[in-house]
C-alpha cells in the first residue's frame, strides 16, 4: 500500500512538472507579453517609450533566454514561489490563496449537488418500472450536458432573481448568493454523473447475481441499493475524478456570469491581461487539484470492489 501511494505521488509530481513546463513553453511562445499589454493595449504602440518597455522587460526578466527563465522560475516554483502578478504586484501564491476559499465553497457545493441530484436521478430512473417515467428521466441528463453553463446561469438569474426575487443575481454574500451559481455549475456535472451511473446501473441490473438476489426473495429496493448500487458506482466514481477538473474550468464562466470573486475570476482577468505568472500558477494549481482528485478516486476503488487489488499489494480495506 505504501509503495503504491509513493509511486502514485511520484507520478503526480511528474504530472505537475509537465503541466508547469508545457504551460511555460506555450505562454512564452505567445506573440506578445505582459509588458506590451501594460504599456498600451492594442497594436497602436505610438507614444510608448521603447526604452521604458525594455527596462520593464529587463525588470521582469523577459529579455533573458527562455531556458534561463525556465530554470529560474522552476527553481522558485519548487519552493512554492510562483512569482508576482504583473498586473497587481501581489505574489501569485497569495492571489490564488485569497481567491481559493470562495471557489472551493462554490465547487464543493456544486459537486455535492451534482452527486446528490445526478445519483438520485439515476437511481429513480432505473428503479421505476414505469416505462414512460424511465424514458422521461433518462432524457434529462443529455439535456443537462448540452446546455452551456453561461446560458443556464443567465436563465436561472432571469427566473429566480429578476422574476421571483428569491436569490441574488450576483455577489459573494451569504449562502443565498451561493445557490444560483452552485446550481449552474452542478447542472452539467450532475448530468454526466446521472448518465454514467444510470447506464452502469442498468447494466448491473442485468447481471446474473441480481437474478440470484431476486430468487432469494429480495425486493426491488433492496436489490437496487444493497446489491447493484455498489457494483455500479465504480464508473461513476471514475468520472467524478475527471469532473473535478471540469468544475474548475466551468467556475471561470460561472464566476464571471454571477460576478463572484474566486479563482475563476482571477483566471479570467489574468488571461485577458496576459498576466503570465498568475496564469501559470492557475494551470499548475489546476493540475494539482486534478491529480489529487484522481489519486483519491483510485484509493477509494479497492474499498468499493474487493476484486481490485492495489498494485500487487495485499488488499487494502476498511476491515
Amino acid at each position: 500500500m505504501r509503495r503504491y501511494v509513493l509511486r502514485r505521488l511520484a507520478q503526480a509530481a511528474g504530472v505537475l512538472w509537465a503541466a508547469y513546463t508545457v504551460s511555460f513553453l506555450v505562454l512564452n511562445r505567445l506573440p506578445s507579453d505582459p509588458v506590451t499589454a501594460m504599456a498600451g493595449v492594442g497594436a497602436d504602440q505610438a507614444g510608448v517609450d521603447p526604452a521604458q518597455v525594455a527596462r520593464l522587460r529587463a525588470e521582469y526578466g523577459f529579455d533573458r533566454p527562455v531556458l534561463a527563465q525556465y530554470a529560474d522560475y522552476l527553481g522558485r516554483a519548487l519552493r512554492g514561489d510562483f512569482g508576482d502578478s504583473v498586473a497587481t504586484g501581489r505574489s501569485v501564491t497569495s492571489t490564488i490563496g485569497d481567491a481559493l476559499p470562495q471557489t472551493l465553497l462554490l465547487a464543493g457545493t456544486a459537486m455535492l449537488l451534482a452527486v446528490a441530484a445526478g445519483g438520485g436521478l439515476a437511481l429513480a430512473a432505473t428503479y421505476t418500472s414505469r416505462r414512460w417515467l424511465r424514458q422521461a428521466l433518462l432524457s434529462l441528463p443529455p439535456l443537462g450536458v448540452s446546455v452551456p453553463a453561461f446560458w443556464a446561469g443567465l436563465m436561472l438569474v432571469e427566473v429566480f432573481s429578476f422574476r421571483l426575487r428569491l436569490f441574488p443575481a450576483f455577489g459573494n454574500e451569504g449562502l443565498r448568493g451561493l445557490v444560483l451559481p452552485a446550481l449552474t455549475l452542478a447542472i452539467p456535472t450532475g448530468a454526466i454523473i446521472a448518465q454514467v451511473l444510470a447506464k452502469s446501473l442498468l447494466t448491473a441490473l442485468d447481471e446474473p447475481y441480481v437474478a440470484t438476489a431476486r430468487a432469494k426473495g429480495a425486493g426491488r429496493a433492496r436489490i437496487h441499493l444493497r446489491h447493484v448500487l455498489r457494483n455500479a458506482s465504480l464508473p461513476a466514481l471514475a468520472v467524478i475524478g475527471v469532473l473535478v477538473g471540469q468544475l474548475m474550468a466551468n467556475s471561470v464562466v460561472v464566476e464571471t456570469v454571477f460576478s463572484r470573486n474566486g479563482l475563476g475570476r482571477v483566471t479570467a482577468s489574468a488571461v485577458s491581461t496576459q498576466d503570465l505568472p498568475v496564469v501559470q500558477g492557475v494551470v499548475v494549481f489546476g493540475a494539482f487539484v486534478f491529480v489529487t482528485a484522481n489519486l483519491a478516486v483510485d484509493l477509494v476503488y479497492p474499498l468499493l470492489d474487493p476484486r481490485i487489488v492495489v498494485a500487487g499489494d495485499r488488499r487494502w480495506s476498511l476491515a
Partner: protein, 570 residues
C-alpha cells in the same frame, strides 16, 4: 463407484398430487423483430421429493420454463397463459410482494453460471445469511453462524474462512456450493437448478451433483433440474421432460424416455449426446497418414515449461508453474487431444505451441525447424502455418465485420490475392464448412452458435495451415450442433491433411475426434496413448477418475441395479 445416486420417492407423497403443477404455460418475449413465443402450452408436474429433469437444446424454452416457475423472467418477457400452481397457489397471479415470500423460502434457485451469480462485492457468508434474514429465519446475530453452517452443509471445506471471503477468491466449484447453500438455506420444498454444473469440470460437476442430490434427499426437497446434458438427466432424474421449440415433446420416467424414446426429437437428441453415444462402439477416425513412423512429426515439443509470476505477498512462491516439463508430438494429418480440467495447463500448452506466449524453457520444433525463439518475420511465417479456433464463437468473431471480412482477414493480413480472388476463396471456404454463400454479407450476430463456429473454422483454414489448434471448439455448442461440428472437423482433416491439437475437458467429445490423447493434470502430462487404449485401459488413476465422471453412466451401464447404487454418504 459410478456416482449415480438414485433415490426412491416416498410412496405416500407420490399420490398426494403434484407439488408443482404447470398447466398450459405460454411465455413470450418482446423483441426488436416482434413477439417471440419461447414457451407454448407447457404442462409439467413435479411431485414432492422428486427429481425432474427438463431437457432440451438452447432455445428450446427449458430455462424460460424454469424461470417462469418463480416468475424470474426478464423484463421483456410475459406469461401469456397458463397456471403455475405451487402449494395450492397459482404463482402466475401473485403480486411481486407475495412472490417474495415464495422465492428463497419455498422455492430455491441454483443458477447456471457460478462465476457471475454471486455479488462480487459482498462476502460469501453475507450472501448466504441474506436469505435467512429476508425470511425472518435468523436474527442479525444468529445469521452469520447459521450461514457458516449452511456453507459446511453444502460441502465447502473450512466454511468459516470461506464465509469471510469474496466470491472471486473461490473456485467455480466452491462458488456453486455457496449458491447451493443459498438455495437450501430456508429449506425450500422445491429447488430449481438451471444447468447447475454446465460451467464446471466433469469431476467437479459429478461431486456437486452428488452432493445436491444427497442434500435435497435429506431435506425432502423436490428438484427441477434444467440441463442440456441427457447424460446428467439419465444419472439423476426420476422423470424426464424433453422440450423442443418451446413445447414439451415427451414426458416420462427417466428409464423409459432414455431406453425407449417415443418422440423423434428425443431420439435425435439421444443419438447426438456425446456422453451417451460414447457407449456405442464408434469407429475411430481414419488412421493418420500411413508410414508416419518414418516421417518427421509436424510438431515436437520437449521439456516445455511455463511459469507465471504471482502477485507479491501471496505466500512463499513467487511463480506458478502452469506447464511443467511437457513433451508431445503431433504428426501430419493427426488429431492429438489434450485433455484435462480447468487449470491443468492445457490451454497454456496450446498457446505455447502457437508461440502466442513465450515459454520459460523447453523446445518447440515445427516441421523440423526450431521455432522456440522465432521473432519478427519468421514468426509471422509460423502464424501462417499454425492457426487457432477458439472456444467461444460468440466472442472470437469481430461483431462489426461481415462474415466475408472475417474469413478473408488472414488473407488480407498476409497480402494474398486481390479483392476478387479473396472473395472467391471465402466463398469456397464457406462452402467447405457447409455454409451458404449468402452468409458472406451477414454479420456474426445474425448467425447461430454452430454457424459462427463454422465461420471460425473457415477463417482458421483460410491460409491452408498445417496445424490448427482447437481450444474447446464445441464446448459452447448444443449437443446436436457439437456432433455436426466434430464431423466437419474430421471431414476437413481427411480432405486437407491438416493436423489438430484438440483441447478439451470433455472426454466424450475427445473420443469422437482424436487419434491420440494426452491427459494433463497440474501442468504435467500424466498419460499419453491411442484413443482406444486410453478409454479401454486407462493406466493412470486420474484418467480413470476423468472417465468415471462422464455423465450418463447409468445408461451406459445398462440401468441402475441394486449393486451399483452406492449408499448415500453423509
Amino acid at each position: 463407484m459410478t456416482g449415480t445416486e438414485t433415490r426412491t420417492v416416498p410412496e405416500q407423497t407420490r399420490d398426494d398430487g403434484a407439488l408443482l403443477e404447470v398447466r398450459g404455460l405460454s411465455v413470450s418475449y418482446r423483441t426488436r423483430t416482434g413477439l417471440l413465443e419461447a414457451v407454448r402450452d407447457v404442462d409439467l408436474d413435479v411431485r414432492a421429493g422428486e427429481i425432474v429433469a427438463l431437457v432440451g437444446e438452447s432455445g428450446s424454452g427449458k430455462s424460460t420454463t424454469a424461470h417462469a416457475v418463480t416468475r424470474l423472467l426478464a423484463d421483456n418477457a410475459s406469461v401469456d397463459a397458463g397456471r403455475i400452481v405451487f402449494g395450492g397457489r397459482d404463482l402466475a397471479t401473485l403480486s411481486e410482494r407475495e412472490l417474495r415470500t415464495v422465492r428463497g423460502a419455498q422455492i430455491g434457485l441454483v443458477p447456471q453460471d457460478p462465476a457471475v451469480s454471486l455479488n462480487p462485492v459482498k462476502r460469501v457468508g453475507e450472501q448466504v445469511a441474506e436469505v435467512l434474514r429476508l425470511h425472518g429465519l435468523a436474527t442479525r446475530r444468529t445469521a452469520p453462524p447459521a450461514a457458516v453452517e449452511l456453507l459446511g452443509r453444502a460441502g465447502l471445506p473450512d466454511p468459516a474462512t470461506r464465509a469471510r471471503q469474496y466470491p472471486h477468491e473461490l473456485s467455480g466449484g466452491m462458488r456453486q456450493r455457496a449458491l447451493i447453500a443459498i438455495a437450501i438455506a430456508a429449506g425450500p420444498k422445491l429447488i430449481v437448478a438451471d444447468e447447475p454444473t454446465s460451467a464446471l469440470d466433469v469431476t467437479v460437476q459429478r461431486r456437486i451433483l452428488d452432493h445436491l442430490q444427497h442434500l435435497t434427499g435429506e431435506l425432502g426437497s423436490a428438484v427441477l433440474l434444467v440441463t442440456h446434458d441427457l447424460g446428467v438427466a439419465a444419472d439423476r432424474a426420476d422423470r424426464v421432460v424433453v422440450m423442443s421449440r418451446g413445447r414439451v415433446v415427451e414426458t416420462g420416467p427417466a428409464r423409459r424416455v432414455l431406453d425407449d424414446p417415443r418422440d423423434a426429437y428425443t431420439r435425435r437428441l439421444l443419438r447426438s449426446a456425446p456422453s451417451l453415444a460414447a457407449a456405442e462402439p464408434r469407429t475411430p477416425p481414419a488412421a493418420p497418414v500411413p508410414g508416419d513412423g518414418a516421417a518427421a512429426p509436424l510438431v515436437e515439443v520437449e521439456h516445455l515449461v511455463k511459469e507465471f509470476p504471482l502477485p507479491h505477498g501471496s505466500g512463499s512462491a513467487r511463480t506458478v508453474r502452469a506447464v511443467d516439463d511437457v513433451d508431445l508430438t503431433v504428426h501430419r494429418g493427426e488429431t492429438l487431444a489434450l485433455v484435462g480440467e480447468s487449470g491443468s495447463g492445457k490451454s497454456t500448452t496450446a498457446r505455447l505451441v502457437l508461440r502466442l506466449v513465450p515459454p520459460t524453457s523447453g523446445r518447440i520444433v515445427f516441421d523440423g525447424e526450431d521455432v522456440t525463439a522465432l521473432r519478427g518475420e519468421k514468426l509471422r511465417r509460423l502464424r501462417r502455418r499454425a492457426q487457432l479456433v477458439y472456444q467461444n464463437p460468440y466472442a472470437s468473431l469481430d461483431p462489426r465485420f461481415t462474415i466475408g471480412e472475417v474469413v478473408t482477414e488472414p488473407l488480407r493480413a498476409f497480402r494474398i490475392g486481390d479483392r476478387a480472388s479473396r472473395t472467391a476463396r471465402a466463398r469456397e471456404l464457406l462452402d467447405r464448412v457447409a455454409l451458404p454463400a449468402a452468409t458472406l454479407d451477414r454479420r456474426p450476430a445474425e448467425l447461430s452458435g454452430g454457424q459462427r463456429q463454422r465461420v471460425a473454422i473457415a477463417r482458421a483454414l483460410a491460409l491452408g495451415p498445417d496445424l490448427v489448434v482447437c481450444d474447446e471448439p464445441v464446448s459452447a455448442l448444443d449437443v446436436s450442433v457439437q456432433a455436426q461440428v466434430l464431423e466437419l472437423l474430421a471431414e476437413l482433416q481427411a480432405a486437407t491433411g491438416v493436423a489438430y491439437l484438440f483441447i478439451s475437458h470433455d472426454l466424450a467429445v475427445v473420443r469422437r475426434i482424436a487419434h491420440r490423447v494426452a491427459v494433463m493434470r497440474a501442468g504435467r502430462i500424466v498419460e499419453t496413448g491411442a484413443t482406444g487404449r486410453i478409454f479401454d485401459d486407462p493406466a493412470h488413476p486420474y484418467t480413470r477418475e476423468l472417465l468415471a465422471a462422464i455423465p450418463g453412466g447409468r445408461v451406459r451401464a445398462g440401468g441402475p441395479t441394486g449393486s451399483e447404487r452406492p449408499e448415500e454418504r453423509t
